[in-house]
Subunit: 361 residues, 2 copies
């Protein structure tokens, strides 16, 4: 029997995540019959390369999905809201990088290392979690499985590219201005379209996404609630308490996180290291005697989640620190999405079950 | 009766903290009869300005302190180890910015807003705490006094200048290289004289100071143990548990900290804000609806500790987050030292009690 091949569309193909969706797809185990690159009208006509071939970017419309088997979407929440129901109606399975569909009860929220089994019940839309959530759950789930987990307190150090290519460009333009004694001109961060913009270069912005009524930002809300939805894979385990502070830092790519966590059992740091070293998608970099620990500059361009600074809180038995770094555009976005696609192929799940389209109207 | 006037020596006058000791002293309430600027032989002969007058830098030696009433020291731990006993023997009261004497039982460790009373028992050397510790205890002590405090978990976002002027210069040189597509040349950070050096520009370094055997860095150790020594001011209160992760970030000046804390009572965030707004040395900047929160670029050059992002952990009653930013070279170093000097003047404590010198031999 000939191997199945799929027509794959990339929605938002010209963005920071979109370009990486193309390159991750090119080296993936997804058999691609044809690729379609979709973006806004502004980008239509651009030429991008896929496996050495030039592909013309087309404008994304509700009619773009005829004959498409799989959509990898990263064009913003409003585009996913508008276009993914049309894609599902046309029979395409969608893996969405935006936050729009993540908490929908009909949408599995998947990190393959943690809850690939949730894919079995998909209805045409599968959501990729928030970048800062993905790397944290990759690090926490092996610990939770082995030792139990009841509390997580995370502080993030998030890269500019988490807000898109234009935010990354803004950081570099600001840095160039600063080192040349020119004024910095902030137009995008902390939140595109917000009332106030502040420089990120040589600064720290303790706001990612908009504020909720309770004083948390929506990014913090996502880390709390997405983590619980992903960890619901294991119906028998109690969900941990999770709380977060998210801070944007002047780094182009790769997020850092200090993760403080309390386990049910009380392993030694060596036992934690041993469990993490065997965990899928994890690389332990933890040797203080050789000053070895994860750094964004080293993690960028890699698919793994890097973990170091693992140590016990001596005053609080069963509590630990770790430092987690991963490329927010790869494991935090494009690679996780392509990895979901590979799982769908492996499980022969690239089809839209009957009746699915009505769920998203 | 004529006001007392003092001869003040600045030890390490040419460094990032030293130059700020000079400018903070110039605007302080310490009546200065004469100023002496001391530094290494390499800097001797340089001219610096104090209150508009040019002063020649002299080489610091054990004989430099004859006739000196007050020494403000920031020339490194080994210099303080060597020279401060000689200064005390010569009758000079020393306020030391280095870590060398901080945990000595005969040395008060003082943040004036928290434990100025500890000055009464000084023996000639008074220690200024670590920069990241100072701003945290300024923020925590009013909360502790009002509501009790039993647990603190802090993650720091520390500026390059915490490692001195040369580290700050290195960050800026690296940033200039990076934006011009040149390789970055790290020679100092994370730890001067260490085996490995890594770029800080556009990166994060989860190591500040050397590693202890338990996997904590010495910076983290300082935040834990100095906080407890400072909070010992109040003999009746139990000391909180404290744990920390310290990360160097590509910011020139002003440290950020995410501080998670558990109180004995369960105030509302509004009650916390109200207590902090009345606290000495604190400015509350906490209005999400106007995107108002502390930022290093805004805090730099100011003496206050800025606090925002105050909110409750809804899943853990009595636990809260706050975001604390302060200029590490001012409140974290030079201003705190000069402020101690003002307290000594006010309390008429600028003298070395008999028998003190023997304590430091």
């Amino acid at each position: 029997m000939a191997e199945k091949e799929y027509t794959v569309a990339i929605l938002g193909a010209t963005g920071a995540v979109g370009t990486r969706l193309i390159s991750q797809l090119a080296v993936s185990q997804i058999p691609v019959k044809q690729i379609r690159l979709l973006a806004s009208a502004r980008s239509a006509g651009k030429q991008l390369s896929f496996k050495g071939q030039s592909v013309t970017v087309e404008e994304a419309t509700p009619d773009s999905f005829a004959g498409v088997d799989l959509v990898l979407a990263s064009a913003g929440g409003s585009v996913s809201k508008q276009l993914l129901p049309a894609a599902v109606a046309a029979g395409a399975v969608c893996i969405d990088n935006t936050s729009y569909w993540r908490m929908n009860d009909h949408v599995p929220l998947v990190v393959p290392e943690v809850n690939a089994a949730a894919l079995a019940n998909h209805h045409g839309i599968i959501a990729n979690p928030n970048c800062s959530t993905i790397q944290m759950v990759v690090a926490l789930e092996p610990i939770r499985q082995q030792f139990g987990l009841h509390q997580v307190i995370v502080s993030t150090y998030q890269a500019a590219s988490g807000a898109g290519q234009s935010a990354l460009n803004e950081l570099l333009a600001e840095a160039k201005a600063y080192v040349n004694d020119q004024p910095m001109d902030a137009q995008i961060l902390p939140v595109r379209g917000g009332d106030n913009h502040y420089p990120l270069a040589f600064n720290l912005l303790p706001q990612i996404d908009v504020f909720e009524d309770d004083g948390y930002t929506h990014e913090e809300w996502k880390m709390i609630h997405e983590t619980k939805k992903i960890m619901m894979n294991d119906k028998n385990a109690a969900l941990p308490k999770v709380t977060a502070t998210c801070v944007r830092v002047p780094v182009p790519i790769s997020h850092g996180e200090t993760v403080y966590f309390e386990t049910d059992q009380h392993p030694t740091p060596a036992e934690l290291r041993s469990v993490l070293a065997k965990a899928p998608g994890v690389v332990v970099q933890d040797d203080p005697s050789h000053q070895l620990y994860p750094q964004p500059l080293n993690a960028t361009g890699k698919r793994d989640t890097f973990i170091g600074r693992i140590r016990a809180d001596e005053e609080n038995p069963g509590a630990y620190h770790m430092w987690v770094v991963s490329d927010n555009l790869l494991k935090g976005a494009a690679w996780n999405a392509v990895q979901i696609g590979e799982e769908l192929v492996k499980r022969d799940l690239i089809y839209v079950p009957a009746g699915s389209a009505a769920l998203f109207q």
